[in-house]
Amino acid sequence: MPHKPPTQEELEKRKIVGVNFETVTDVSSTDFPGHYPGEDHAWDIERFKKGFSVEFHQNDPYEASFSLIGCDASIANAFRRIMIADVPTLAIENVFIWNNTSVIQDEVLAHRLGLIPFTGGREGLHEFLKWFEKPAEGEQPNCTDYNTVELSLDIKCEDNDDADSKETDPTKLYHHAHVYAKDIVFKPIGRQEQYFSGENIIRPVNPDILIAKLRPGQQISLTMHMHKGVGSDHAKFSPVATASYRIMPTITITQPILGRDAEKFQKCFPKGVIGLEKVTAKEAAQKGSGYRGHEGELKAVVVDPKRDTVSREVLRHEEFKDKVKLGRRRDHFIYLVESTGQWESDAIFLESVSHLKAKAKSLEQQLVNMVR
């Protein structure tokens, strides 16, 4: 039986996940060999290269948004999971408390310190610093300049003699009533000087994070050790605040929506999704377009479906129910990556890709070893 290759329209249709009032349709991908008889869906890197594209929407140090178009959810999800759980960062791991007479308990203070995001020279953080190996029970840790970063926090609250007698603000009444992240001091050891000096010094990403509040006579005196770790071990090691993707929404207007209806239709979507345009003379002249005799009236047009939240509000209205079709593009992922500051946000994604590659590579070697 000769097989007819699918039309472009058919191929586009296959990418769409249908979103109905209460149900969804065509959820799973179908691009597997044998799914459509006579069609070749074998993995081919050249074909992937042709169909795959990346599009940036925003690329700032702390926030990046971009689309991966033409890849499967399993791949997109692997990158997202790696960004959250497998890209390493440096964070406070051990706190040695010499004195803490503040009202905040030692363990709570230690936990708070651990969650502070730090940054510093990229080369030092990513290339020079290595993994710290946790010592076995009862053994001394092997802390060196290439696996441990030492910080200290020594602060004491005292009365401010220059304060006005009517002053009620504790920050003016006392010195160091508030302990901030900027009070933490980095102590370079060995070759760390080389990588973390000047603008590359290891410092909190945000200097104004409040760590504790003190009153006169109270003091905090502690040293800290930072190690490299991954998000799967503890969330403080995750390089991202969020790393998520949305699937590209699609909105198809199947019948004309005009006049007051168009305005109401527009209000069913977030701002900027639906636009209003005048029906042109050409459209009005066209037979069967539904625009006949409506020249100059406003019609609803889809402007930017990317901004839609797919709330399905439009489907709750009787008059629009049969005039619009909602859906999502299965192979279009809109990522949003917010860095905590130790990595550039786009570098986190690149790192996740190379992490997946390294993972596959090492397992390929393991497989060879297994067969041997």
Partner: protein
């Protein structure tokens, strides 16, 4: 088909996880090799623990693999690329128990290739895919920066 079924292990005989037993086996196997390597290279390269195991009951064309310390991240991606291989009849992955850091992949192939080959191809395909993603991403980022600089 009948032959393949015969070689399968009965349900009761197949352990759900084979990690500890196989670990012992490979330890014995590897010991000789490790010694030679260590003497030659002064422990320069760390001896990696074997993380991939072939589960019992596997035949040439139908095998289950156990991956230690892997999860949905690799599992689902690997399942996808292996399913795109036309020589593969069936592929699926599972995490038998959430509190055990293990991931199983089942591969059944048509005659002419083996499950191990299919897995190896899958891992290679992922590496190629990653190269393409990196290449396109870097280019898109550069283009975006250029466009931004041009528009001010």
């Amino acid at each position: 088909m009948a032959a393949r079924r015969d070689s399968d292990v009965a349900m009761d005989d197949a352990p759900t996880s084979h990690q500890p037993e196989v670990k012992d086996d490979t330890m014995v196997d590897d010991e000789g090799d490790d010694f030679d390597e260590n003497e030659g290279e002064e422990e320069e390269e760390e001896v990696e623990i074997q993380r991939v195991k072939l589960l019992p009951g596997s035949t040439e064309t139908a095998a289950s693999f156990e991956f230690a310390n892997e999860g949905h991240t690799l599992g689902n991606a690997l399942r996808y690329v292996i399913m795109r291989n036309p020589d593969v009849e069936f592929c699926a992955y599972a995490i038998p128990h959430p509190s055990e850091a293990k991931m199983n992949v089942r591969i059944q192939t048509f005659e002419g290739t083996t499950a191990i080959e299919a897995l190896e191809k899958g891992l290679r395909d992922i590496q190629e895919l990653c190269d393409v993603v990196t290449e396109k991403f870097v280019k898109a980022a550069a283009d975006f920066a250029e466009k931004k600089a041009a528009t001010g």
